[in-house]
């Protein structure tokens, strides 16, 4: 069947759920549409009796009267049940809100983060499949490895490897950022210049290189419109 040809037909009919979906071209005169509907509906014989009909003008705009007129015509001639306009399409804002409600997935999210409390000492190696959060310090000579982000709520003085899974969006965040070496998604940065004061800093990949910035000043996730699962 030629779809282009079909698109030009003044009346198209298909079954949708428990109703018949009739798409019409609203710019044609009413009698032409009635003729076309007559042709289509006559072929269906008894199937039209008490059927639920959705008349879809195929565009937004006020076609209430047209739908009513055609509806009455169909009810009289073919004994259809209900004739209704298509369900209102959601506006862009409504659609965005709805998506966010669906996206509130953190409520059903099983956390993929390994949260540890304590001090990771020299010679110790901690690895997490996804994100790693250490509430404590990472001493010089210690190694923390994560498939995703590394977050140290304390001093990071050892080696930190983030994004082992290859995720270049991974970050390494620490309240006191003094690592011996960091790696994100295989990129290595050694001898990271450290700020003197204790400020929360984070490392991330920018244009193929590791960049360390003041976390609060850069506030990298503040621009996200909605909390996302990471």
């Amino acid at each position: 069947m030629n779809t282009e040809n079909e698109a030009r037909l003044p009346v198209r009919l298909k079954g949708v759920g428990d109703s018949l979906w009739v798409t019409i071209s609203p710019h044609l005169p009413v009698d032409v549409l009635q003729d076309e509907l007559d042709k289509v509906f006559s072929r269906m014989n008894h199937l039209t009796i008490n059927a639920r009909i959705v008349i879809d003008p195929g565009e937004s705009g006020d076609h209430q009267n047209l739908i009513e007129t055609l509806g009455n015509f169909l009810k009289e001639k073919f004994g259809v049940g209900h004739v209704i306009p298509p369900p209102r399409k959601r506006s862009e804002t409504e659609e965005r809100k709805r998506r966010r409600d669906i996206d509130r997935s953190w409520e059903n999210w099983k956390s993929d983060a390994l949260v540890l409390a304590g001090r990771v000492r020299s010679g110790q190696k901690v690895s997490a499949r996804k994100h790693l959060i250490v509430m404590g310090d990472v001493n010089p000579g210690a190694q923390v490895i994560a498939g995703g982000d590394v977050i140290v709520m304390g001093s990071l003085c050892g080696t930190a490897l983030a994004g082992r899974s290859g995720d270049e969006g991974s970050i390494i965040l620490s309240l006191d950022f003094r690592p011996t070496q960091i790696q994100i998604a295989g990129l290595v940065a050694a001898g990271v210049p450290t700020s003197s004061g204790k400020v929360a800093e984070y490392a991330h990949i920018e244009n193929g290189a590791i960049v360390v910035e003041d976390y609060l000043r850069a506030n990298p996730f503040s621009r996200l419109p909605w909390p996302e699962v990471r």
Binding site: R121, S122, P140, G141
Partner: protein, 266 residues
């Protein structure tokens, strides 16, 4: 009452484990405890020299652990301090001559004989360390204010925690003048990284070298700052854990007091 086995360790070599063992042992004995100091550095013994007992060695710790002699036979009585005994290391064996199981058994025997047993652990984290900590109840980590010593001490602390031993910390060889000028880590910096209980701060002291060479006990010398610091450490280990820490300062007490009055020093 059963004695306590305390292992004195550091990870890094040359930070003063042997001096600390000899001095704390002597200080504990001076307080009336029966003390045994055990040299666990098999093959590289030197605690006997530090204590001036090298020419009296007949049996050693390997003999005692293997049952070739009684514990009492291996223990050499100190010449100057009553109740202080040395169990020397073997000089001809290596670290594999002992194993952790035999050390656990030896520790049990020693507990029955002495109030305190101080184990002088060899440097490193290999067999010698395993043997020394096997029978230990407590551990003292000696660290100098150097980045390398702190790194190794940190590793050792991790290994001790893994064996359910909570270590205590001694910071040795502090040079207050260098700390003040910012050329040396302060004891706060060290404790920040290691975060374990601090039981003593020992100042750099030339008399340590002199007493090590002569085999005279450092703690009997009232003028030695290090000796006095070790005596206080011994008191803290001997049931006075709350004895306040004395922080070595470059200046005399007189200038400190003036500084305090003027609000320059805390």
């Amino acid at each position: 009452m059963e004695g306590k086995v305390i292992v004195i360790t550091s990870g890094k070599g040359g930070v003063g484990k042997t001096t600390a063992t000899a001095s704390i042992g002597a200080a504990l004995a001076l307080e009336g405890n029966r003390v045994a100091v055990v040299d666990m550095d098999i093959g590289l013994r030197n605690l006997d020299v530090v204590m001036g007992l090298e020419n009296r060695i007949v049996f050693n710790v390997v003999d005692a652990a293997k049952g070739k002699c009684q514990v009492k036979q291996a223990a050499i009585k100190d010449r100057r301090i009553d109740n202080l005994y040395l169990i020397p290391a073997s000089q001809s064996d290596n670290k594999n001559a002992l194993n952790p199981e035999s050390m656990v058994k030896l520790s049990e025997k020693l507990r029955a004989e002495f109030d305190f047993i101080l184990m002088d652990c060899p440097a490193g984290i290999e067999q010698g360390f395993e043997n020394a900590v096997a029978g230990a109840d407590e551990a003292v980590v000696v660290c100098t204010p150097e980045v390398s010593a702190v790194r190794d001490a940190d590793r050792i602390i991790g290994l001790l925690y893994a064996r359910s031993i909570t270590p205590k910390l001694i910071i040795n060889r502090i040079v207050p003048r260098m700390v003040d000028s910012g050329d040396m880590l302060s004891h706060e910096d060290v404790v920040d990284v290691l975060s374990i209980d601090l039981i003593g701060l020992v100042e750099m002291d030339e008399q340590v070298v002199a007493s090590t060479n002569t085999g005279l006990p450092l703690v009997k010398d009232g003028s030695s700052k290090a000796g006095q610091a070790f005596r206080r450490i011994a008191q803290r280990l001997n049931g006075q854990p709350d004895l306040p820490l004395e922080i070595p300062t470059g200046q005399t007490r007189f200038w400190n007091k003036i500084g305090q009055k003027l609000g320059l020093r805390k």
